[in-house]
């Protein structure tokens, strides 16, 4: 049982404010992922929760207790570092034992716990190896094991997989998900990686420059990004954007005019803006439809064949490049003229201040 509550946390280094008032509550057993561009303060926020950075102002509550001034070791958390941070002078067994020993756990119990964790993580053959003798993946497992044996209330991960190669990262990702299901412990996980965020999270927190841009389930962020930043950040390849003029709108949708004159009726309700306002239209590459050219609306410029899917970069008449995702069997070739179709139900509209128009109907998976 562990819930976390962040109440307008702030962090100032010297004069620069890095974390600008973050409020967030994390439920018991929830897997929360922090994402955001490099330098946005993810690690800083995680370290504030861990107790490794002081909290300049605001409150941090674990299970309802204010822990701002509690030592890191006494908060009941365990952390897995990006660099693993194993104790190089201790073997795997001693690495896992260290925290238990400091906590005064009796020898026999320590040994049992470590054996159990080692079995779970397939570390048994390496218990008496030093970290220097292990591969990256094994070190990663030891770091996780060291966190697990202490049976913490909350797990903290700071980009734990970023030092692994792609194949191992995929494997560890699946293992971590399985582990989380098994341990059922509250987890906070920092990552750069879209796939990790989308596949593992119960809840994603998108951060930018020390503020929260949006909190929601992965599909909520995907289908209903709250603003331009989240729309750009979530999804790979990223969403296409172009400008348009807002015509009118109501509860059942909004009409916009694209630059080539096309009218779109998108099922989103407008905020309080005037007709004629310049707004932004966004659509994901997988939702744009290609049709053989009937006119000169676009020309294929680049084709990236990834096997299962194909990414087609189309240059429009006004010079803008739009990326379209199609199946792997398309026979399109470079320089072929094509026309694009934008299904209005998949379009997102963003007001000049960057905020998204409210969808008239929520996506069933992102309710």
């Amino acid at each position: 049982m562990a819930t976390l509550e962040l109440k307008s946390l702030r962090k100032t280094y010297l004069t620069e404010e890095i974390i600008k008032g973050i409020s967030l509550s994390i439920e018991d057993r929830e897997f929360v992922v922090f994402v955001g561009p490099s330098g946005c303060g993810k690690s800083t926020l995680l370290r504030m929760i861990a107790g490794l950075e002081d909290i300049t102002s605001g409150d941090l509550l674990i299970d309802g207790q204010r822990v701002n001034d509690v030592e890191p070791g006494k908060r009941g958390l365990a952390m897995v570092f990006q660099s693993y941070a194993l104790y190089p002078h201790m073997d795997v067994y001693k690495n896992m034992e260290f925290g238990l020993k400091l906590a005064g756990v009796p020898e026999k119990e320590r040994s049992e716990k470590i054996q159990h964790v080692a079995a779970t993580l397939q570390l048994e053959p390496y218990l008496h190896h030093k970290p220097g003798q292990l591969s990256g993946g094994q070190r990663q497992r030891v770091a996780i094991g060291r966190a697990i044996v202490r049976n913490p209330k909350v797990f903290l991960f700071d980009e734990p997989l970023s030092n692994l190669d792609a194949a191992l990262r995929g494997q560890m990702r699946v293992e971590l998900s399985a582990l989380h299901r098994k341990l059922n412990a509250t987890t906070i996980y920092v990552t750069h990686d879209q796939v990790e965020a989308m596949t593992m999270a119960d809840k994603i927190v998108v951060l930018q420059k020390g503020v929260v841009e949006q909190i929601g389930s992965p599909l909520e962020l995907y289908h209903h990004p709250r603003n331009l930043f989240v729309a750009k950040f979530i999804g790979s390849p990223p969403m296409n954007f172009f400008s348009a003029i807002f015509q009118n709108g109501g509860h059942d949708g909004s009409s916009v005019q694209l630059r080539d004159g096309t009218l779109l009726h998108v099922p989103v309700s407008p905020p309080d803006i005037l007709p004629g306002t310049k707004i932004t239209v966004g659509i994901r590459p997988e939702h744009v439809e290609l049709a053989p050219a009937s006119d000169d609306s676009g020309v294929v410029e680049v084709i990236e064949r990834l096997g299962a899917i194909t990414l087609v970069h189309v240059r429009c008449a006004d010079g803008q490049i739009i990326v379209v995702q199609t199946d792997g069997f398309t026979t399109l070739e470079v320089d072929t003229p094509v026309s694009l179709k934008l299904p209005p139900q998949h379009c997102h509209l963003f007001a000049p201040d960057g905020l998204a128009f409210e969808a008239c109907r929520r996506h069933p998976l992102a309710a």
Binding site: P72, G73, M79, S83, A85, Y87, H89, L102, R150
Partner: protein
């Protein structure tokens, strides 16, 4: 052609390298050699390179009970000063390496600048202070002075070594529930042990060879080896064989330590200026 010049430069480099090395080492070699001569052989002209070695000089040096007295003093003073300096320097270096503040850099430079204070400048007050506290001509007094003169360099060396320890490892210790003290003794010290050892070694070498305070603050009771050797400079002490034997004994431990640890020593001594 190219190969030929290469070979000839190689020969030149070898000759030059060995020639200079032998020339620079020659005095030490000669000292060791002379230690195995009798007093008569030692002053023969021209000097003999080949002779019947004898241990008579060593025997005489050892016979003088005072030799052991001086050696004992040197060991006590060097070890005492080194241990004391490490006890003060480790927490200071830890604080500067892992809890840096705006003033850390300034503090380090200030510490080094206190080392710039020439000992002669403060010879008189230190002498008088030592006399009034009855520390004159005691091992304790000399150890304290040695500890203080070496402290800045030791702090800086340790700081350099500590900074090579990745901070996340210490943070992992803190997450595991270690207090600051446990973090320092159970995580940092084992990791930085090679660095600490080479720092201690440098401090030992500096104390062992220290001459200014040793000659000025001691007379007989606490006189270390360096003062013992200096006593040979008086004309009546001029026995080349014994001088050489005693000198060899005095420098041998440090020379061997220095040979073994030269790489480690340098790493600390460059203050991080050389990676």
């Amino acid at each position: 052609m190219a190969i030929k010049t290469k070979r000839s430069t190689k020969i030149a480099v070898t000759c030059l390298g060995w020639g200079i090395a032998l020339w620079l080492f020659f005095p030490i070699f000669w000292m060791i050699l002379t230690g195995f001569k009798s007093e008569v052989q030692a002053v023969s002209t021209p000097p003999k390179l080949i002779f019947a070695p004898t241990l008579s000089s060593y025997a005489e040096v050892f016979e003088r009970a005072s030799y052991w007295h001086f050696t004992f003093n040197t060991v006590i003073i060097s070890v005492g000063a080194t241990v004391g300096a490490l006890l003060l320097a480790i927490p200071a270096a830890y604080s500067m390496a892992f809890m840096p503040s705006k003033r850390t850099r300034g503090t380090l430079l200030w510490m080094l600048s206190t080392r710039m204070l020439p000992p002669v400048g403060v010879l008189v007050p230190i002498y008088l202070l030592a006399r009034s506290t009855h520390l004159l001509d005691t091992c304790t007094g000399l150890a304290i002075v040695n500890m203080l003169t070496n402290l800045p360099i030791i702090v800086w060396m340790l700081f350099t070594f500590f900074r090579e320890v990745p901070a996340p490892i210490l943070e992992a210790g803190r997450m595991d529930g270690a207090t600051r003290w446990q973090e320092m003794t159970m995580v940092l010290l084992p990791l930085a042990l090679p660095g600490i050892a080479s720092t201690a070694l440098l401090s030992l070498i500096l104390c062992w060879n220290e001459a200014f305070w040793s000659l000025n603050l001691t007379s007989s009771n606490a006189a270390p080896l360096t003062a013992f050797i200096a006593s040979f400079s008086s004309p009546e002490g001029l026995f080349f064989g014994k001088l050489s034997a005693a000198s060899t004994l005095a420098v041998a431990p440090i020379l061997v330590l220095g040979w073994i640890s030269q790489k480690q020593l340098v790493r600390g001594l460059t203050f991080g200026a050389v990676k």
